[in-house]
């Protein structure tokens, strides 16, 4: 029995806390935030417990097990095909009815289940008291109350899950539909006797009545008669109720969920609903909502800049004070020059330019994400997003894009159709990510003043909108409408935010710093050997003649494809000792503009490739390079008129 492998899947509605639990159990870093649809791809991790090796799977949050969206289909197939030893159904105790609706569907898949009644703290503050014993009894499934963010109940949950597996509990009980529906399910199950699918027979019966496309297709292949018979039976139900059969069955399921919820919960008067409510009303109001949005974006911008600018200066004074010390240790010969001018200059540039901006940036972004503000912004921006052929939800990956384009591109999967995913991903690649922000604030903001940096952002937004509109013309189609749950605001869990920020920064240090050091060293070497001129001169028709930049930028912009901030960090290292100050204001603006637009970095291209294939990602890449060069050249000519 020992050393056995187990598979446990976490399933449930969006935003109930599955990933928090997953992270607790596995020690991994799945994305956490307070808006629906963060986990778009199944994540796996392992855990050792009581002699078992347990694979834990975090599934995307879904509202139903139909085939409406890709995630629903994927999750359903996963549970049916992989047959986890137990499914932990995470539910939000404060919205019991909606969550139980999903639970009832999971039960139809007939895998062993345990219910994790999460967010007990929120339920309590909303005045919802859940009787755990009663719920357990009504559902016939073990229930474990938890407060995932605080880790309360997680260990017990795991124990309960293993206990359920060890006991080999019978399949969970089933919802019974109305008489006429049950009779029809029975008829189909009867016909299914000799048909074996990964799904249970009763489930197939239910789904055939509901007109589920995937199941229909599978049965069609085996025995088309069953599908025809089911269609006829569904027609009969439609006649009786006057609604389409799937609506009838969904209603009955909701009815059942509602009954259980009402029996198991007691509503006492809420302790503090008004504050959260008032904040919600204020931030989504037709006037104050938009004012808050603009005001908070400006506030974020200025505070990051002020903090970054100050710290950056401080750090650079500190680090450059080391130079005499280095010179005395390494000498001023070839090697000393190489090490100081290459590696150390690169490192200093990396530390002083990047870290002061990136750290506060991620802190604020994660704060916003965990507070629940993103879904409010999506609500406010819905009408504007319709102008570029998308709907409000697309604004969420755009906001994430400010942090990093890569998860943002993957996040575009929250859009409903392939066309919308592509449009949204295209727009996302134009959003200045944290690395681009470093360039904007660290170069233009630092040397020309914060207002120029702000102006560049505004120019970028205008460009995004214009190109989005253009893309909409190229890939036409009616935008689908927004359907999104807006979860209550909550005070973000600070530890989560700090952890996520730290994880980001650590990743940055691990990946970017070695790149910066090696890259700077290589460039310095090439410089000392006199090769740099040659490479730079090949690119000079574009960089020097058309864009009016120093020849050397051609090389650093190429490095920027790896990571965008490299283009600035290396430039700073190469232009030392005068540093970036040796560029003219126009050059700074043009350089930043080009760096902002010219190409999604290599990781983003890879993410695009994964979701959209090489043709579309290549097209986007080439288009953006050409566009950036075009805009940069025009900007240079216009700016020289004024500056």
């Amino acid at each position: 029995m020992n050393k056995k492998k187990l598979l446990i899947a976490l399933a449930g509605n969006a935003n109930v806390g599955k990933s928090v639990i997953f992270n607790h159990l596995t020690g991994l870093h799945q994305h956490i935030g307070n808006w629906p649809g963060k986990t778009v791809e199944r994540a796996e991790g392992t855990l050792h417990f009581k002699g078992y090796t347990i694979d834990i799977v975090d599934l995307p949050g879904i509202y139903s097990l139909s085939t409406y969206s890709l995630e629903e289909l994927v999750s359903r197939k996963y549970i049916a095909v992989e047959r986890p030893d137990v499914v932990i159904n995470v539910i939000d105790a404060s919205v019991l009815e909606r969550n139980l609706f999903f639970t009832l569907q999971l039960m139809e898949l007939e895998t062993p289940m345990v219910i994790c009644l999460n967010q007990m703290d929120i339920a309590k503050s909303k005045g919802v008291q859940v009787d755990v014993k009663k719920l357990e009894q009504l559902l016939g499934i073990p229930v474990m109350p938890t407060v995932a963010v605080k880790g309360v109940g997680i260990a017990k949950l795991l124990e309960k899950a293993i206990e359920t597996i060890e006991k080999k509990q019978a399949k969970p009980p089933q919802v019974t539909y109305g008489e006429e529906v049950e009779e029809k399910i029975g008829k189909i199950v009867e016909k299914m006797k000799n048909v074996h699918l990964v799904y249970p027979a009763r489930y197939v019966g239910i789904k055939l009545l509901e007109g589920d496309e995937e199941i229909e297709r599978e049965i069609q292949r085996i025995n088309p008669q069953i599908v025809d018979a089911a269609k006829k039976l569904a027609g009969e139900i439609e006649c009786i109720h006057g609604h389409c059969c799937s609506t009838v069955m969904t209603s009955e399921r909701y009815e059942a969920a509602g009954c259980i919820a009402r029996a198991a919960q007691k509503l006492v008067s809420p302790i503090k609903p008004t504050k959260v409510e008032r904040l919600h009303n204020f931030t989504t109001h037709r006037v104050t909502g938009y004012l808050t949005l603009v005001f908070s974006l400006l506030l974020i911008f200025y505070s990051i800049f002020t903090f970054g600018d100050y710290t950056s200066g401080l750090l650079s004074d500190l680090l450059y004070a080391l130079e005499p010390f280095f010179a005395s240790v390494l000498g001023t010969g070839f090697v000393g020059q190489l090490l100081w001018g290459g590696a150390m200059e690169g490192l200093i540039a990396g530390i002083t330019i990047v870290l002061p901006y990136i750290i506060p940036f991620y802190l604020i972004l994660y704060f916003l994400e965990n507070s629940g503000y993103l879904s409010r912004i999506a609500f406010l921006m819905d009408n504007i997003m319709h102008k570029i052929g998308l709907h409000g939800k697309a604004f969420i990956p755009m906001m994430l894009g400010f942090g990093c384009n890569v998860p943002a591109c993957l996040g575009c999967r929250i859009m409903e159709t392939q066309r919308e995913r592509l449009l949204a991903a295209f727009v996302v690649t134009l959003v200045p990510c944290a690395a681009t922000t470093v360039i904007i604030l660290g170069l233009v903001g630092d040397y020309l003043g914060v207002h120029w940096a702000l102006a560049l952002y505004i120019v970028d937004f205008v460009i995004i909108f214009a190109l989005g509109r253009l893309a909409f013309k190229v890939v036409p189609g009616e935008p689908t409408a927004l359907i999104m749950e807006m979860h209550d605001y909550r005070w973000p869990h600070m530890k989560t935010i700090l952890k996520q920020t730290w994880f980001r920064v650590a990743e940055f240090i691990k990946i970017a710093f070695p790149l910066i050091i090696v890259g700077s060293l290589a460039l310095k070497l090439a410089d000392v050997l006199g090769w740099l001129e040659t490479i730079a001169s090949v690119l000079s028709p574009v960089t020097v003649t058309w864009l009016g930049l120093p020849a050397i930028t051609g090389i650093t912009l190429i490095f920027g494809v790896l990571r965008k901030e490299l283009s600035l960090v290396m430039l700073a290292a190469l232009l030392a000792p005068t540093g970036l100050a040796s560029m003219t204001p126009v050059q700074m603006i043009v350089f930043t503009l080009v760096a902002m637009l010219y190409i999604p970095c290599i990781a983003t291209i890879a993410a695009l490739f994964r979701d959209f294939g090489w043709k579309k990602s290549l097209f986007i890449t080439v288009f953006e390079i050409a566009f950036a060069i075009l805009v940069g050249g025009i900007a240079m000519r216009l700016l020289t008129l004024f500056m």
Binding site: S66, R98, H285, R286, S375, E478, T480, A481, H487
Partner: protein
Amino acid sequence: MEKPNSNKREVPLTALKAGESGVVIIIRQGHIRRKHRRHGHIIHRSLVHGITRDSGFEKRLVDMGLTPGTKVTVVKAAPFHGPFEVLVRGSRLALGRGMAERILVEKE
């Protein structure tokens, strides 16, 4: 154009004012949106492309809890033809206007 129904209390969700509630009667098929399109060719295109997708959206609305007989309360509508915020079964949903137009409710 034909009137959706002679019963006056049966209105699209968009006709409710902030704070008002209604009970869902049915979710109309996509083609009703024709009324709101001025140019003939657009009508045609949205019809052809719309069919399977629209029925998918109807399913999603029902899955989110907007089953016939459910009480829906309109909290507010965003300006400039923006989405609606509604309360359904204890949770708060944002519904695009195109979506809300298709939900027929009986005003309470």
